[in-house]
Each structure stands twice: as structure tokens, then as C-alpha cells.
């Protein structure tokens, strides 16, 4: 089968690769670009671990072939923090609140929660749970994750804790 050429921007850097059409975006990010922050979970759109932001909207990178992503702009979990290694508010809140155990779902959760706070700076608990509804966590019971989002929202707005 033929190879196709793709040009993709990830976290502000432009990449060009020759790939087979059947390569999923998540495998492309990890294996072609060495961006291994995005995790491969179920590979069929159930777990949300592979969530990335495509043209400003969260999507599942196992449900997009990399060839379809040609010309598009992505942010992965590596793109959330600053270049100096400091954490974004949502990452910091996850760290502070231990909003993870094994950490497998964490990159997807961070992407979903980061996008939620961009769209809705002051989400209710119900809105937080809706926003992470597509992301499975088998460890935390979600409680610390929900708490972390609330704390990140307060921090972003400078509300006293």
C-alpha cells in the first residue's frame, strides 16, 4: 500500500513525515514524533487516554488516522506546561491533589480538563463530570480529579482558597 505525506503542527512545531494511511494519530505522535505523553489505551475510542486538542477542540487521537490530520494543528499534553518545565494550572492542581494513581488516564484527563476550563472558567461539579465523561479512570473514583479541576478554576481566577 502507498505512503502518504503529512504536514502536522504539534505544540507549535511543524512536522513532515511519510506514513501509511492506516497509522492512527496517537501512534504517529508516539512513534514518529517521539511525543509519548499521549497514551494509547483501548485503541477504539472508549477510554479517552489518547485525547489531544485538534484545531482548538478535544478529540481522540486513536479515532483519527494521521493522514486525515494533514494540515491541522494539535496540542498534546506536552504542550500544556511552559517550555521551562513549569506546570500549567490544571497540571499543578492534579499534582497538588494527587488526582491520579497509576497515571495512565492522566494525559487524556488533563486535555479534557484544560479544554473545559478554557471554555467554561467556572464549571459546576456536574459540568466537570460531563467534561470527563469520555475519559475512563480505573483508580481514583474521579473524586480527586473533580476536586483538582475546581481548585485549578479558583487558582486561574485568583480566588482565595
Amino acid at each position: 500500500m502507498s505512503k502518504n505525506s503529512v504536514h502536522i503542527t504539534v505544540n507549535g512545531t511543524a512536522y513532515k513525515r511519510e506514513i501509511e494511511p492506516r497509522l492512527t494519530l496517537v501512534d504517529f505522535l508516539r512513534d514518529e514524533l517521539d511525543l509519548t505523553g499521549t497514551h494509547v489505551g483501548c485503541e477504539h475510542g472508549v477510554c479517552g487516554a489518547c485525547s489531544v486538542i485538534m484545531d482548538g477542540r478535544p478529540v481522540r487521537s486513536c479515532l483519527i488516522y494521521a493522514v486525515m490530520a494533514d494540515g491541522h494543528d494539535f496540542v498534546t499534553v506536552e504542550g500544556l506546561g511552559s517550555k521551562d518545565g513549569s506546570l500549567s494550572p490544571i497540571q499543578d492542581a492534579f499534582w497538588e491533589n494527587h488526582a491520579m494513581q497509576c497515571g495512565y488516564c492522566t494525559p487524556g484527563m488533563l486535555i479534557a480538563c484544560h479544554h473545559l476550563l478554557e471554555e467554561n472558567p467556572d464549571p459546576t461539579e456536574e459540568e466537570i463530570r460531563e467534561a470527563i465523561g469520555g475519559n475512563l479512570c480505573r483508580c481514583t473514583g474521579y473524586q480527586q480529579i473533580v476536586e483538582a479541576v475546581k481548585i485549578a478554576a479558583q487558582k486561574i481566577h485568583g480566588v482565595n482558597l
Partner: protein, 293 residues
């Protein structure tokens, strides 16, 4: 869990799609959002030789609302329809149902037309198309044709679209009766997961408080979404108090032949469908009467 190899065409126009499908001899398939097709390909339940990507075709995207119809281009993202104020104002039942479709991440890619073509038994979009008797407009190298919803869904995951046809647009009728209301209920394992059973109703109430027009359809519990004409007949012309609704939905168990699977038995689906239908009818009635809380 990796797809088999395939060739890839990124189409720039509908004509290019039609000719690629025509040349593909049944082995070429359209990919839009890919939120149903890519999992099927990952599991090797689908192995198209060629994928024809329609995501770049502007003509296949957009929403237009006229007096009696909402025209939605097939490639319009579910998220864009869900956030459309025009759809919420004129076709609120579709907005309500879309809130139950997948998750934010899948709605950002998944398309209205893609869900209809995939024809999953639990699809909320298919249910609303069947409920409102939407019209599907498809194009091929042979020309364009319109397919009413009641002739579109053949069985689970099967539609009456022919090889070589591309779904272009879906026309959802808008009811112009002033006192119109809708109801939508479903049961699933977790929020926004596949519906084990779903029911939707749209009702118009006349000046004498009698039910002037009613559509009722159920999904999830049947291979394809199903209009329940017998129940509609039992409701039409009556004042819809709860006992009338309970009597009407008692007809439902004999009208369904649900499937059993690991998540729910056929008997459970039959029973829960009756409950959901009654709730959908009551909500539709209350909304039509301006009493919905």
C-alpha cells in the same frame, strides 16, 4: 487492534467522492468523522480497500433553517449542531438528543450524516430522524435521490443507501403548531454511553387540550429505530392525562422484539422502553402545554 492497510483519497468535491466510490467497485468507503468506522476498522470488522475522506468538502457542512424544515449537511459535526442556537430554537429535540451522543471528544469529530449511515441500533440521531420522518438526500454518479427515514434504516448497521451513494443532506421537518413539545429519555450503562433503550416523542396540543398530532419512536431496544404508530393512534384526539398515556404505552411490549446482550436482557429492554416512552410522552405533553419544569 490496528486497521488493515488501505488506500486513502482526500476528496475535494462531491463529484470526486462519487467517482471514487464508483471506481472503487463497492470496496471504497467514505470516511467523515470516523468515530464509528475507525473502531470497526481497528477491530477488523470493516476492511475497506480505499477510504474517501470528505472532511475537506465545504459543501457538505452547514445548517440552514427554513420555516418548515431544518436542512443539515451530512458532514456537519455533531458538536456544531449541538451548539447551534437555530437548531435549539427550532428543532429542540435534536439538540436534546445530541447531548446524549458520545462524548465531547467524539462529538467534535462525529458527523450527523456519519451516524445515520452507520445506523447503530442505539443511535440517538437515527432515532430522531425516524421520529420526525426526516428525508435523506444522497448523490451518486447516477444522480440525486431522496429517501424518507422510514425507508432508510434496513436493520442494525444497514441502510438502504446503495454502493456509490454519498449522503449529502438531511432534512428534518419542523412542526409549525404553536403548542408543540418534545420528550427524550434513554437508559445507558453510564452517561452518554450506548443506549440500552431510548424513547422520543413529539406532540402538538390543540385548542381543546386534545392531542392534535403525535409522533413516538423508540431505539436501542430494536435493530433500527421504530415508529410506534399503534401507540400514536391510541393517543391522538385524547386529552393526555397520565392514565391515557399508561394505557397507550401498555401496547408497546407486543410491538417490540428486543435483543439480549451482556448489558441487558430482552425482557429488561422491553420493560424499560415502556417506562421511557411514557416519560417521553409526558414531557412532550408538558412542554407543549408550557408546564415543563
Amino acid at each position: 487492534m490496528k486497521a488493515a492497510s488501505f488506500d486513502y483519497i482526500r476528496a475535494k468535491s462531491i463529484d470526486e467522492v462519487c467517482s471514487a466510490l464508483n471506481q472503487g467497485d463497492g470496496e471504497a468507503q467514505i470516511i467523515a468523522g470516523g468515530q464509528t468506522l475507525i473502531p470497526l476498522m481497528a477491530m477488523r470488522m470493516s476492511r475497506p480497500q480505499t477510504l474517501v475522506d470528505i472532511n475537506d468538502i465545504e459543501e457538505l457542512r452547514g445548517i440552514e433553517v427554513a420555516e418548515k424544515v431544518a436542512m443539515i449537511k451530512a458532514g456537519t459535526r455533531q458538536a456544531d449542531v449541538l451548539s447551534s442556537i437555530e437548531i435549539r430554537n427550532n428543532l429542540p429535540i435534536l439538540s436534546e438528543a445530541l447531548g446524549h451522543v458520545g462524548h465531547t471528544q467524539t462529538r467534535n469529530r462525529g458527523t450527523i450524516g456519519g451516524s445515520l449511515v452507520a445506523a447503530d441500533p442505539s443511535s440517538e440521531i437515527c432515532l430522531i430522524a425516524q421520529l420526525l420522518d426526516a428525508t435523506m438526500i444522497a448523490k451518486s454518479t447516477a444522480g440525486t435521490r431522496s429517501i424518507p427515514a422510514n425507508q432508510f434504516f434496513d436493520s442494525a448497521m444497514v441502510t438502504s443507501l446503495k454502493d456509490g451513494e454519498c449522503l449529502m443532506e438531511i432534512d428534518f421537518p419542523i412542526w409549525n403548531q404553536k403548542r408543540t413539545g418534545f420528550g427524550f429519555h434513554e437508559t445507558s450503562i453510564r452517561d452518554s454511553d450506548y443506549a440500552l433503550a431510548a424513547a422520543s416523542a413529539q406532540i402538538a396540543i390543540g385548542g381543546n387540550n386534545k392531542c392534535e398530532r403525535v409522533h413516538l419512536a423508540v431505539g436501542g431496544a430494536t435493530p433500527s429505530p421504530l415508529r410506534l404508530n399503534e401507540v400514536e393512534t391510541a393517543l391522538i384526539g385524547s386529552v393526555l392525562d397520565d392514565s391515557v398515556i399508561d394505557d397507550a404505552v401498555s401496547l408497546i411490549p407486543n410491538l417490540l422484539e428486543p435483543q439480549s446482550d451482556v448489558h441487558a436482557s430482552a425482557e429488561y429492554r422491553r420493560r424499560v422502553t415502556c417506562v421511557l416512552a411514557a416519560r417521553a410522552i409526558r414531557d412532550a405533553r408538558d412542554r407543549a402545554q408550557g408546564k415543563f419544569s
